[in-house]
Amino acid sequence: MGKTLFDKIWDAHVVSSKEGFPDILYIDTHFIHEVTSPQAFDGLRQRGLPVFRPKQTVATADHNVPTWNQHLPIKEELSRYQVDMLTKNCAEFGIELYGLGHPYQGIVHVIGPELGVTRPGCTYVCGDSHTSTHGAFGAIAFGIGTSQVEQVLATQCLLQSRPKRMKIEVNGQLQKGVGAKDIILYIISQISAAGGTGFAVEYAGDAIRSLSMEGRMTICNMSIEMGARCGLIAPDDTTINYVKGREFAPKGEEWDKAVAYWKTLYSDEDAQFDEVLSFKAEDIEPMITYGTNPGMGIGVTQHIPATEDFEQKEQGSYKKALDYMGLHDDEQLLGKPIDYVFIGSCTNSRIEDLRQVAAFVKGKQKAENVTVWVVPGSKQVEAQAKAEGLDKIFEAAGFPLREPGCSACLGMNEDKIPAGKYCVSTSNRNFEGRQGPNSRTFLASPLTAAAAAVTGRVTDIRELLNEGELVG
């Protein structure tokens, strides 16, 4: 019987497999950042252990960093301390750090791929649930807790039970104005925020195949929002062309050998999945979430459900979510005034996202009632955006291009959405308080966010796109 892509990669990384025990899985590269690593380094000190393979560890500071005036010291004392602690730990344990001020600094899931560290066939972990992003290259990548960060620092391995395998196919032609973010929000709205729990999800089908690497990363990034252990997409020419020539990508003969191997990485035709789901690309509208988990999403023209649509035991949780969001049963979000627009995060802060937003806002002005934050995912994305003049387009539209970091995705740094305010956000989570205490998040695509920035309201991007316009 054939093997799934996931099993091919997993099997190639098993150091030891013993009945009744989780597998000891070899980790090719371990990404670390300032928030989930300090206690792990402390653990190593207490055990008197070194970092086992420092060259296979990549570090950056992203969660706590300001996205304005990054050349100045971080204002908030605890944030500054945590970032300083990462610098100190990396120096002590011999780990290369792409910290503030470094030309490679950025959100950990943006810099790995753009540096060519992320490649097909490898295993990646990070103390961050959006590590699933790297699966877009046909790799196994997932988030871990701090005890496991310590484990990987100490051994370059992770104890892990093999998850079940799910295939999600999306076939057909996407509507104009509908992109990768809409696909993944649609899938999660169909199978719920727990629908993928316990599974490694492989995305397939021609609608997935047609996406750029940036789009595929957006899809895999949000695998965790349906509870999946990881998400992955078989590598193809799009993948290979993206990796080629990047800073740490293989070169010369090594490259040829790597590509030959990558071409063997796909699910065999007779491979068995524990579950297979299929969706039609034509059914997907521009999506927006209305609730307090990413499964609570609708097409932008639809109405939100009524409490009575849910089973009795779920009604309390649903009502709590609507109260928090200041919405009522059966409401339509289309036309609803909003206060903030956030374009950024490890989901949608890559150059393609910024290009798409710039192409739409060019020659337009942001609405007066809206504050717009555009935050590049990395120093390299920022530099590229400036080289292409995107920063000038944003400035002319009434908002500046900020500096890289996790920003308003998680209410940990200076960028927070104020209490009670509505934010159309390209990030990945709409949990209560996620963007700041009592903030209210509508998750959407970069294009839908750009449309809201211009109109000041929840908007159907399809109505604003000219016939034949290429964005989307």
Binding site: A194, I224, E314, M412, G433, N438
Partner: protein, 209 residues
Amino acid sequence: MTKIFKHIQTSVVPLPIENIDTDQIIPARFLKATTREGFGNNLFRDWRFDENDNPKQDFVLNNPTYSGKILVAGKNFGCGSSREHAAWAISDYGFDAVVSSFFADIFKGNALNNGLLPVQVSDDFLKKIFDAVFADHTAEVEIDLENQFIKISSTGEQESFEINPYKKACLINGYDDIDYILSNTEKIVEYEQAPNPLRGNRSGSDKHL
């Protein structure tokens, strides 16, 4: 060394809400500590306290009626962010076990690595626990890890639960994953040196493999 867990019998704290994410358990702005202690003070921070840091009377942790070492919550508990701080906060507050009808993956692993036992029960049994505790707030629940069962003491109703046998042994004996993996160091080095198509998948860079 992991905290040891074998058996408990206590009253429980009911939190019948579904999809409780780790941002609710411990909001990101409290993740700035660089040690594992003290997170209990901010457990469920924004549900527990208002914007002026006054306790919200309607939240269960502020209700003196309910206490105990077991937190009982709705399905898909611990979804979202991988922050282990969530498990640390629950444990630091004084809970030894969390009962739900469904756990998010990463939270479950983090809890097990910290001696906090996640017990997954059926929807029906979860409802029975809620019914018992709302009928009598002193109702006790017994969790026996060795024999893998959970029991409502007053009614005698019980259900068995699943746990990975390795993690069970870790909890009962205080074993630690790192010690186990390190005992396999030779195999790890062997793996690294064996012929492997991924060896051609290296950059030759002096910074990263």
